[in-house]
């Protein structure tokens, strides 16, 4: 081959002897075989060739990454470049949490059903709950200023219930207060982002030398909690039995003199939203309502209380609209993320006793797993039916500077490290990275253990994280968990702290419900994605593995996250996009125990709850649909995220983008109407879990494709949802109703860092 490869050598041609057409001073590149190439042509060919090579090299390197992020388009390239530039512009640093040295030893906390307040006790309250004027809230010593627009005996309820009123609400009272929470009983090992052991600090900020073999105890974190717990209380509710919760603000009280650190609402206000209850605006806990009515403020302040009435009444009185798993969380304007992260989370499974359909009794109705125990006060517990609230957090390393847009809210705390807060929850969120934690918890416990009987369970998953999306599998591991630091991992790879390198999927999920309640039929999945605020319910048969072999007492299974999400933008690896086989983070250990009776009867394909019908002429609504595009704001301040180019304005409803009919209607719907709304992701390499209050929707078009005609390609298109999971640059058109109540509601991104920075809009139902 060497003979065919020319070996160029340069010769300077004397001006006088330059070949015709070449300028004086031109060099010649003479090939060894006698051919002559002018310098000019050599440069030209070299430049053209180099350009081509550079183009193809860049394309082969960048295209897969861009494609994964939904940015493989002319606009996407700019989005990716903008994001990269923004990375250098903003100061965004997170601590590395100390390593939990002995995970999977703490039992999974399973909240028992909260107990209602006795009728006699309610009767002694100064401000009685009730349907009258001023009875919906207590804003001062003279009472409140709002009333419930629909009490349990309202004509609307009677009309949908055969003329029979619902009973008076069951009353609960939850105090919103400051408390402490410990994520683990294990010793922890302070490590840095390189996975090396570093030092800890005591509560005065003095350095503490740590024995790597023993570690140190983790200090409790300060939380704001419903009744002072995280997660907060669990209400087991039932359709047809309204619940009234009096939320009373005690956040100004701090009897233990706990350090509140630098996040959580600075004025101690709160606003509670039952996600996604079919609830009147005054009880919905949304800032579009609260800024214009009731407290006329972002939330309820210390000393104030609000009676949120949850009628447990399906939309339109239609049984097909029944749901199965709500959660309630803070929704205080601008501070939802910090308050939720600080602990304001509660659980609200809801059962359907009608014909015993789904009443927590596996001998009746659909016979979903659950053994019900009724308590004397009207509450009830259900065994083998377990809510699992996933939440990720970061713990302070004492050396990371606390600095974000909210420094001014907590004077004196910003722009410096806080060694005195070592080991406590850290919360700073940034325009470019958002927020994700590096420790995964379930029901408030980091890496807990759940002991199960050999039978079927109903597991209700909730993502209560700020921004993290999970993809969950059930895996077995022969060698067991290894710490990420022991595997030589660094930086973002330390997220999750533990790995099961030899993990293999061993069981499948049988999905029975999603956001919108029971799905039309049970179906199996290898894994499922859980986006912020979403709920997914599964039945898992712990008697046998997916290959049919039986389980044995003592067998161990890991609930495993396989979605790698290094920051709040989106995943870097998941099953849908370039899976990373090394990323298997065990979140919870499941240990098989003794046999137990099992009267449930659930199997793949079993019909559960049919979808409400879609009118045959739904496409006639297309031209007049309302269009909302979520966008990056890039203002660098509080308006980082926008909808239709505007930040959240609580004073009124948003305006749609121009629709195909050429109109830009206000986001107002007549009560009792249905419509199509289009929700678009404006791109930029971010994903957005977009949540719409008040009624569930169903997707009818995704990225221009009619998903009602053929088998949906997207799992969310099988069922009713209250949250549109928007991939980068994705567009969905949803069909939904606006029934039963009037007044102001909101829709917003449930990446709470986005919501708190204006990615929300107001809409309303008019009479």
């Amino acid at each position: 081959m060497s003979t065919s490869t020319p070996t160029p050598r340069s010769v300077t041609a004397p001006d006088a002897t330059a070949p015709a057409g070449e300028a004086p001073g031109e060099e010649l590149v003479v090939a060894s075989r006698g051919g002559v190439v002018s310098r000019r042509n050599f440069l030209r060919v070299g430049a053209a060739g180099g350009g081509l090579v550079a183009f193809y090299a860049a394309r082969s390197v960048l295209a897969p990454t861009l494609q994964q992020r939904g940015l493989l388009s002319p606009d996407g390239v700019f989005g990716a470049a903008s994001t990269a530039l923004a990375d250098g512009v903003y100061t965004e640093v997170f601590p590395t949490s100390p390593l939990i040295m002995n995970p999977f030893n703490d039992p999974l906390p399973i909240p028992k059903a909260a107990r209602p307040v006795a009728t006699a006790e309610v009767g002694a309250w100064k401000f009685q709950p009730g349907p009258g004027a001023g009875q919906q809230n207590v804003l001062s010593s003279s009472g409140g200023n709002e009333r419930h627009q629909c009490w349990s005996n309202d004509d609307r309820i009677k009309a949908s219930n055969g003329g029979v009123a619902y009973p008076d609400p069951i009353v609960y009272k939850f105090d919103v207060k400051v408390a402490q929470h410990t994520f683990t009983s294990s010793a922890v090992l302070p490590i840095n982002s390189s996975g090396q052991v570093t030092r800890a600090f005591d509560t005065k900020g003095n350095p503490v030398t740590v024995d790597p073999a023993k570690g140190v105890a983790l200090p409790p974190s300060t939380i704001y909690g419903f009744n002072g717990t995280f997660p907060g209380p669990r209400i087991n509710a039932e359709y047809g039995k309204p619940v009234l919760i009096r939320f009373e603000n005690h956040l100004d009280e701090n009897p233990l003199n706990l350090d509140r650190q630098d996040f959580g609402t600075k004025d101690f206000s709160f606003l509670t939203h039952l996600h996604n209850g079919h609830t009147a605006p005054e009880s919905d806990g949304n800032p579009h309502y609260s800024m214009r009515n009731g407290p006329k403020y972002q939330g309820y302040r210390p000393g104030q209380s609000v009676d949120n009435l949850y009628l447990n009444w399906p939309a339109g009185g239609d049984d097909r609209e029944k749901q199965s798993f709500f959660w309630f969380h803070d929704h205080r304007m601008d501070q939802t993320g910090s308050n939720v992260y600080k602990g304001l989370v509660g659980l609200y499974p809801i059962y359907d006793p009608k014909n015993g359909t789904d009443m927590g009794d596996e001998t009746k109705g659909l016979r979903l797993p659950g053994v019900r125990t009724d308590n004397s006060d009207g509450s009830f517990d259900v065994e083998y039916d377990i809510p699992l609230a996933l939440y990720d957090c970061r713990l302070d390393d004492g050396v990371t500077t606390h600095h974000d847009i909210h420094d001014a809210d907590f004077p004196g705390t910003g722009n410096k490290a806080h060694p005195e807060w070592w080991g406590k929850t850290f919360f700073k969120h940034f325009p470019n990275h958002g927020f994700v934690g590096d420790i995964f918890t379930v029901n408030g416990a980091a890496y807990p253990t759940l002991e199960v009987k050999r039978r079927k369970y109903r597991l209700r998953f909730l993502d209560a994280s700020i921004a993290r999306i999970y993809e969950l599998k059930l895996m077995s591991s022969t060698q067991g968990p290894k710490s990420a630091m022991s595997l030589g991992m660094k930086d973002d790879d330390l997220h999750g702290q533990w790995r099961i390198p030899d993990g293999q999927q061993c069981m499948k999920w049988l999905q029975v419900a999603s956001d919108g309640g029971l799905v039309p039929f049970a179906f199996t999945r290898d894994s499922f994605e859980l986006w912020p605020a979403k709920r997914r319910e599964f039945v898992v048969d712990f008697t046998r593995y997916q290959d049919g072999s039986p389980t044995k007492k003592g067998d161990v299974i890991y609930l495993t996250n396989v979605m790698k999400m290094p920051n709040g933008r989106m995943w870097s690896n998941s099953s849908r996009f370039s899976p990373d086989p090394a990323y298997k983070v065990p979140i919870m250990k499941i240990v098989i125990g003794d046999d137990a009776p099992d009267n449930s009867n659930i199997y793949e394909g079993k019909p559960l709850r049919s979808m409400p019908p879609l009118p045959g002429n739904w496409k006639t609504l297309m031209d007049n649909r309302l269009i909302f595009e979520v966008q990056r704001g890039s203002a660098g301040g509080e308006t980082e995220w926008l909808i239709n180019g505007k930040p959240f304005d609580p004073s009124g409803p948003e305006t749609s983008l121009k629709n195909p009919a050429g109109k830009s209607p206000l986001a107002q719907q007549k009560m009792g109407s249905f419509n199509l709304w289009e929700i678009r992701n404006g791109g930029g390499g971010w994903v957005h879990p977009f949540h719409l209050h008040m009624e569930e929707h169903r997707v009818v078009m995704r990225n221009g494709r009619d998903v009602t005609l053929s088998s949906p390609g997207h799992p969310d298109d099988l069922s009713r949802e209250d949250l549109v999971a928007l991939d980068p640059s994705e567009s969905t058109i949803i069909y939904r109703g606006f029934r039963d109540f009037t007044g102001p509601y909101v829709a917003h991104c449930h990446n709470l860092a986005h919501e708190d920075h204006a990615m929300m809009f107001g809409w309303e139902i008019t009479p």
Binding site: A20, G21, A23, P24, G25, E26, S38, R39, R40, N41, L43, R44, G46, A47, A48, G50, G51, S73, D75, V77, F78, G79, A81, S82, T83, L85, A86, G88, V89, Y90, D267, M291, P295, K296, Y297, Q298, M333, D334, I405, D407, A408, D409, Q631, R632, G633, S634, A635, G636, G637, E638, T639, L642, G645, P647, F648, D649, P650, G682, G684, A758
Partner: protein, 212 residues
Amino acid sequence: MTLSSTLPAPTAVDAGPRPRRGRIPWPTVLLLAALLAFADGFWLTTTQGAVGAIERAQSPFAAWLRDSALSLPLFALAVLAALAVARRRLRPELRRPRRVVATALLVAAAGSLVGTAELVASAAYDYALQVPQLEAMHAAHITASSPAEVDRPGQCTGLCDQERLTLAADERAARYAAAGVLVTNVVVVGWGVALLGGRLDDGPRRRSPRPA
């Protein structure tokens, strides 16, 4: 409008025969101006997307094409100016490697001046658009029962702090992008000159008649 079709005569520092007034090498000027305009336009659009006002950050590809095309005359002037300076300071015939390299660097520098000026102007415009947005957002958070509690007299908190942070982000992004513009311009001009065969003056000379 008639654009001058000649460049200033070179000074008589060269020892060679007195140079004639050079023709404007329009293909060279246009090629280099286009390369610079679209390369610097990339930085401009990227910066808008990173920290700029949302109104200007939509449909970035179309914005890049439009803004780059609009800025083409500015870059053409910059290239012309650089070539004029090069001819005056060096020699009219920009073919020898050192002269070509020096001229190319001059062109890159001139382009970077224009590109940086664009970035600064764009950042200022972005900030002007962002301030009303910040004010509107701030106002939306204040109700009768919710005074602007974070606005403390005499201190830059609340709205003032947000405006300061926004301006700082715009300024920092413009600075980073300006550095990017300079590096990019050196690379694209170098590539463009190579594509021109290493010559920055007008096209190939007319062939001499072959000797009989």
